[in-house]
């Protein structure tokens, strides 16, 4: 039990040494969550107190260089006056945050469908369709003019039939 306590204090001494070296002699500037334990450890260790005193001179010197800055009302007014308009796009995106995220594959498939539809309805495709229709009309006219067609073929077939009988 005694050994465990000693180990805990030794570990704390190491940590308090780090705190003193990093944050200086003002224990108020030490991390809040460690402060109470570190101060308790400090009170038990003359070595740590000596280390703390060694840092005090530097802290005192640093404090003399503190410059108290006031709020510059003129500067503040200038900044507020010159504020640009906030972007509205971001707000719209924020409003749509409830929507589920579209998977990339779904978006790609949708894009592919759109591309196919566009190609199908493109002017090139329409021209090709018109050309085919004209060719069919020409063929029908040619049949009417020449008298050739399905009737003649059926006569030939019937002729053949008769000869067979």
């Amino acid at each position: 039990m005694k050994m465990a306590n000693t180990t805990a204090i030794e570990m704390s001494i190491e940590r308090v040494t780090t705190l003193i070296e990093a944050y200086g002699s003002d224990t108020q500037s030490w991390p809040e969550q460690e402060r109470a334990e570190a101060v308790a450890c400090l009170e038990l260790s003359p070595l740590l107190q000596q280390l703390l005193n060694h840092e005090y001179e530097l802290d005192a010197l640093l404090q003399t260089d503190s410059v108290e800055e006031q709020v510059d009302e003129v500067l503040l007014a200038r900044i507020v006056d010159k504020l640009p308009e906030q972007p509205k796009v971001k707000q719209n995106i924020a409003k749509l945050e409830w929507m589920p995220r579209w998977p990339a594959a779904m978006a790609a498939a949708l894009t592919a469908v759109v591309v196919v539809l566009v190609v199908m309805n493109s002017p090139l495709q329409t021209v090709q369709n018109e050309q085919i229709a004209l060719q069919e009309m020409d063929y029908l006219l040619w049949q009417d003019v020449t008298g050739q067609g399905s009737d003649e073929a059926s006569d030939e077939e019937s002729t053949d039939f008769t000869s067979m009988l």
Partner: protein, 217 residues
Amino acid sequence: MKLKHFVTVSMVNLTAANSRPTTMSSISQTTVTQHSPWSAEDDPGLMHLIAMGNKPAFTELARRHMPGMLGFARRYVQLSEAEDIVQEALTRIWLKAAQWQDRGTSPRSWLMRIVYNLTMDSLRRQPKLAEQDSNELMATANGPEKNYEESIKQQQLAVAMKALPERQRSAVVLTVYNAMTNREAAGVLEVSVDALESLLSRGRRGLKQSIDLQRGV
């Protein structure tokens, strides 16, 4: 002998030192926010209002943090440049407030990170000007009301500060003069708390060595 006396005196002053108020920036911060109708609102609350385009909330946030922002930038660049940096940082906050999310980074840390980055950018662009200004700042600090001994000490400190690597110097400035917590300062420098403590230890050691060297110790 002198050192021994100092140790004794400083031990007596230990309690007083620990109970002294925090840095100047935090004092002015309290004073400024006392009479504001927005003083009850915390920084994250103000950020949400700013994101909705609320200018009075923006003004309140600027009031709270402008002294610290200006104080930090002035340690590196001249006053007009520091004011431009503060204006740019606050304008960015206004435009990007909607992007801020309360995930461990306080608005103050975010603001100071912007100021830090802008200041370092400015330093890289105009290193000679910044150097000149540090001397000007030092001269301003050493007003006629200060005695000769103090003046010498401050000069030694200014020289030691300038000699520090940039990140060590910023770590010291943020924790000592801006009274930032270790997490806040680590957030500004974008390092872990352990790394910040390492920067601080090395920074303080560097300052002491430099001052001792100037004193011929």
